[in-house]
Symmetry: C2
């Protein structure tokens, strides 16, 4: 039995980073950037109006509000080189985003301008200071500046940066393919009524949902019975994926064939027991560039093993520089107790109370209790050597990926 830390080290050490690929910008959200992105030009590329209004020479208004003759209109998209200089006593009607003409050094917002009483072609402008409501060239970004780096997560804001830099297509980390196989003679598909002694396959759909949300494309291999030949055939198919997720068949029962079948298929077993609760019989292996995470059959165990280990495998494959689970510190809402010997990953509800992250460990009937997982949004981590923790003590908390949705 090895520690969670050592197991993660072995597992990630055996996990390849997938080859980078080119993705169109429209498909880049959620991926990992695999190139450096530099600004290809100053942003803005010219002195730009930040408000709709009138481009002026601020010196003309140094004495206060004054009528200026409106000599032209400058829509956004105008070529700045085509603009004649603005002469003293004149203004140019200008749109947000349009270039200021030479000589102009400020914008009077339309709200601070009014038709001049004197002249139908003039406008009365309130006083402005030099530089008001205009951005100098390069105010947002200087040409050549590094805006994004390899390993950056691509969210919507990064998509905007990439678009602004002209990246209609870009280099991203690969998208892992995950295959999910549930094992066990007792399982029936969720749509069937289980005969006495049998139960519905909940691990398969759950692992598919977890892997999909973690960014993988998923293949459902269904249910394999506890029959070595059929299990082997299903696992052989699963090894075509980057990550084969198996549930069940890893305990010490007479019909737990997963470990033996992995060996038989030529896979290298990385470990077969981890000092974690729930999830001790978690078995990991690799064959070629494929990784296998074989989770215990109890749903809450599979859930925890995915959150702690399998997600890290998928993230590493996709090119995340820090793929492992990242705990934050928070406070226990109530005392916690566990049997020392294995690190406990307890279903919990984390909340921010007056700016403090507080977690309440949820009551559970055991490692088959997936209802507790559905009530939680986090895992409280108690190290293997710990037996008790008092209310209010600081603990490690793993916030789960959908914690903001629950």
């Amino acid at each position: 039995m090895i520690s969670v830390e050592r197991a993660l080290e072995l597992l990630l050490g055996a996990t390849p980073v997938l080859p980078r690929e080119i993705a169109p910008l429209a498909a880049a959200s959620g991926r990992v950037l695999a190139e450096e992105v530099r600004a290809d030009a100053d942003v803005p590329a010219f002195e730009k109006a930040l408000m709709d209004g009138f481009a002026v020479r601020s010196a003309d208004l140094a004495g206060g509000a004054r009528d200026l003759v409106v000599v032209r209109e400058i829509p956004a998209g105008t070529d700045p080189a085509a603009l004649p200089p603005l002469t003293t006593g004149t203004a140019a009607r200008i749109m947000t985003g349009a270039p200021l003409p030479p000589g102009a050094d400020a914008v009077v917002p339309v709200e601070e301008a009014a038709p001049a009483a004197s002249d139908r072609g003039a406008v009365r402008c309130a006083a402005v200071r030099p530089g008001d409501h205009r951005a100098p060239r390069g105010a947002d970004v200087r040409a050549g500046a590094t805006l994004l780096a390899p390993g950056d997560f691509i969210g919507a804001a990064e998509v905007a940066v990439l678009a602004a830099c002209g990246r209609a297509a870009l280099r991203v980390g690969g998208r892992p393919r995950a295959a999910v196989l549930a094992t066990g003679d007792e399982l029936v598909p969720p749509g069937e009524a289980p005969a006495p002694g049998r139960l519905r396959n909940s691990n398969g759909p759950m692992l598919l949902a977890l892997a999909g949300r973690a960014g993988a494309t998923v293949a459902d291999l269904g249910i394999a019975p506890d029959d070595p030949a059929r299990l082997r055939a299903a696992m052989e198919r699963g090894l075509e994926a980057d990550l084969l997720l198996i549930s069940g068949g890893v305990s010490m029962g007479a019909r737990d064939f997963v470990g033996a079948t992995l060996r038989d298929l030529g896979a290298e077993i990385l470990f077969e027991r981890v000092a974690i609760r729930p999830g001790k019989p978690f078995t990991a292996a690799r064959r070629g560039r494929s990784v296998v995470c074989a989770c215990p059959g109890n749903p809450a165990s599979s859930y925890v093993i995915f959150q702690v280990f399998a997600r890290a495998v998928l993230r590493r494959m996709a090119g995340h520089p820090h793929p492992g689970p990242t705990a934050v510190r928070g406070f226990l809402a109530a005392p916690a107790r566990q049997r020392p010997g294995r690190a406990g990953y307890w279903q919990a509800r984390a909340m921010l109370v007056d700016g403090r992250l507080t977690a309440e460990i949820l009551p559970t009937s055991g490692s088959a209790d997936v209802v507790a997982c559905a009530r939680g949004n986090a895992l409280v981590v108690l190290p293997a050597e710990i037996g008790t923790r008092a209310a209010g003590e600081e603990v490690d908390i793993l916030l789960l990926d959908d914690c903001l949705d629950r």
Copy 2:
């Protein structure tokens, strides 16, 4: 100009909840549940082994470890009704998840059992207490118990619960369709080199990414020039979607045609100015069952308007019972200052430091600065009447949906 709260109220009041639909379980992750889910049977449905080992009568071991004759093997999936009672002095080899035979009341784990020295058909079992390593019928869930309710977010754990309850298909909230239209003569697609005075469309790809991540199916309507007829045609197409997201054309410039075109298309304008910074010219409208969110053209403004308003529209459409943005309380890392009059939504980096949520407002060059958005993972909200806040003061913080990814 109306407050953010009033704008949200008007906007959500005008937003219809989409008709519910039936989704297969494999497509339910990320959706909103639209039915109550009760357990259709006890879980487990029978007295179940929690470990691989030997089902025993604990009274046989009351005096300590003892040899028991192994009379049968009980794999998972065995019909409990088919099991003969376990007689005194005997044990049944049993797998995790298999039913205990009548008479057995505990499981001796395989790790605590050894072949008997005396008899090749017997096993030496360590002492156990009644109930050890076995779950009584209904231990996890009682038949009829309500496990999930309408409005629940469907994450992977809920998928497992749904599978366990036999929901191969289920009723979920509708999936909104969002159309995205960028407007402006100055815009060119991201793949093109902008002529002088022009710039690349970054709002369109950004809004598509935001809407997609918020659960919508998205349609890209590209760029409409500041030409009333072509803008009208593009907006008419966009109104076929549940939510039309527009960027640009809502300021007070001579070529800001979006408001007028919305009226011309028969849309009801809900509001045209919101006391928010950035994003004041945010315009919202509805026509029939379609909602329009027309965001200012500056990327950081569009980003904020989406996070505060458009996401709430999509969530309401999808059936979320609390669709609006939910702020948490945290602490300012450094003093903050704003011009009072509009609520400030400041790009920020939120971090948990020793269990306390702390946010640092990021430097920005203004509302066109989407690079600041990419550096952030949260928005610090300063109410409209506030001018300054000291370091360490408590503030509202909106954690953005991808805050755990950055």
